[in-house]
Symmetry: none
Subunit: 201 residues, 4 copies
DNA sequence: TATGAATGAGCGTTCATTCAT
DNA sequence: TATGAATGAACGCTCATTCAT
């Protein structure tokens, strides 16, 4: 059968709608039962499509997860980027709060982000790896604009900043260190890492 | 009937023997097929005990994993502790090499360590959380004995040292950053974190 | 995509084939090792399907049992129904012999039938409850066609007939009453229950 | 070591105490979680003895069950026996109510009673088989004392009476017949079974 | 694209019962 | 008698992923 242009368009439209419906249902389900509780079964049921259709749209379940979480993280960074450049470390902590909150909302999410912080192959840098890259880049810019230690490159500083953020979250999931809050710990680390060393110490 | 000390011991002995046999078989199997390839079925077969016995000794498979990996990490630390105190960062990297190698030998192991680095409840601080604590403590001692930055506490330095080690491993599992080796990256981070800032920079 | 009738059928056909294969393998295994000896593992092995597939077709092992035993009982009733209406109690005993034999072939089967003779909820009246219903209905028809006591309804007679059959089987599984055979006992009960009382007694 | 008479007595006393404690704990647990929910583990925990001790006192778990349920049934019969001879079928139903209630309190109990209604060997007539025998004997006496059908022996009547009681309970556990209550059904059956047939019917 | 039955491979459970001490 | 670790043997489950249609 000849496939006319309009038919192709119609098909494409339906495809996009299916994909959108899957994503929307998934987002709703996450609100109810969290990321860890998300089941492909429930997503396809809610979207009214067959299981196979899900995998025609997303390579695997994690691909969907990456999209959902990546989007959440990205919008946090959008906010951070939209505001004024933070001029102090507490300021930076405050601006990055939405991002950090998203990352540590669930142990499952945190683990998944760590796992996807790199991609299996360079060609496949996914939404999460991308957002972590954006994080470093953003901090790097802030560092350049502020007065922080100058003995190492702003990029290295930014990488360490991210590393300490992750470390602080790790410790939060650990009962041993539950006494100190995430942001208190973060401040200690970031201070020690970013500021020029006081000569007297 | 009066239960004498020797009776109690006799019973406990059999229990300990069974447990030791399970652990020994598991260790052998790990040598062959790696941690990820370990099968409970094979462990009980090798130990000549029933499956129920396995679960009477270990809450679940992960509990065994924690013990095996924890022991391996612990013996790496024993080695590190037995030798002379490292006097430089490259030295420290070299002394910690067995520990780091153990941690990054398998993605599965690394993920499991991260997952168990904290426990759900204080009462359950397992062998892995414990070994990470020892790591920090050891580094802290080294820091005290050497000439590193003095503006922050040796404990804080040690925590950061561990954080950068983990971050460097994470990046190694990531194709994006495969160009730099783990220890090269580690040196950059540790230098920037531990050394006093050079005044000229 | 429009789902045509033939597509739906095609899918259903495969499902039915798998189900039929599972049932057929199970029936063969029962012939060899009895109902009690049936193993789910062997069924799926014989049918060449995965274990998950078994549980996609049958809620649990008992659900399969119900179907197998229900079918066997049903075919006994088919036989009974196909022949001429029994004109006496010994005749009735003889016609019901295959059904009774099936029911008491294994203690396991008898217990399972009793357990499933009622269902937890009306919606779940299974094959076994159903066959017991058919039994009563069949006997009721026979009673209507014969000359039995008329002071109570044929349906009530039929219910009692079934009750005495089950009671007689129960007693057969009991060493205390092993001296009397099942059918002898059954005759005594059924005579006393179904026949008009002799005036002289 | 010579075992004196007084020592033997002391030992025996302790043994009986252990047994009594096991029974008492079991009875308490049954009150809480029912017969089906009773676990040997919990019994020995409550009694403060080891698992093996349980099996030194009771052949198996069912032996304990038989004792517990048998005692309950026996005391119901004691009550029935203590009162005046019932003079009508409704009267009989009322007198037997405690016994029937005990028997149908749990599906598990009912099934167990059926299973133990006979014993595996004549030598081992257990408490439950015994109580069912008492039931028949008691009814037989009542039948002899009243005016019921005379065409069959009082013993046969009594056996049927018990059979119909069991059948009525069976039907109660069956959703199909939930509309009629146990005692209503019982009256219909017993009337039809025990009374002389009215000539006009 | 869409369908949905089938896959898969191992984990954890169950808990009455046994037996060496 | 008393102990309690060990047994046993199968069940049911999990649930993302595949593939023939």
């Amino acid at each position: 059968m000849v496939q006319t242009r309009s038919m192709a368009k119609a098909v494409q439209k339906r495809t996009l709608q299916t994909r959108a419906r899957l994503l929307s249902v998934a987002r709703d389900l996450v609100k109810t039962s969290g990321y860890e509780g998300l089941r492909v079964e429930e997503v396809v049921l809610g979207a009214g499509v067959a299981k196979g259709t899900f995998f025609a749209h997303f390579r695997d379940k994690d691909a969907l997860m990456e999209i959902l979480i990546g989007a959440e993280l990205d919008s946090s960074l959008d906010q951070a980027e939209a505001g004024p450049v933070p001029v102090s470390i507490p300021d930076m902590i405050s601006v990055m709060r939405p991002y950090h909150l998203c990352m540590k909302q669930e142990r499952y999410v945190f683990d998944l982000i760590l796992r996807y912080s790199g991609a299996a192959a360079i060609a496949e840098i996914g939404p999460i790896a991308n957002t972590l890259g954006r994080y470093v880049y953003l901090v790097e810019e802030w560092v350049k604009a502020g007065s922080y230690r100058t003995d190492i490159s702003p990029e290295l500083i930014a990488e360490g900043v991210q590393g300490f953020a992750i470390q602080s979250m790790s410790l939060q999931f650990c009962a041993l260190h539950a006494s100190t809050t995430f942001e208190d710990r973060l401040k200690v680390y970031w201070d020690a890492w970013m500021l020029p060393q006081s000569p007297s110490n």
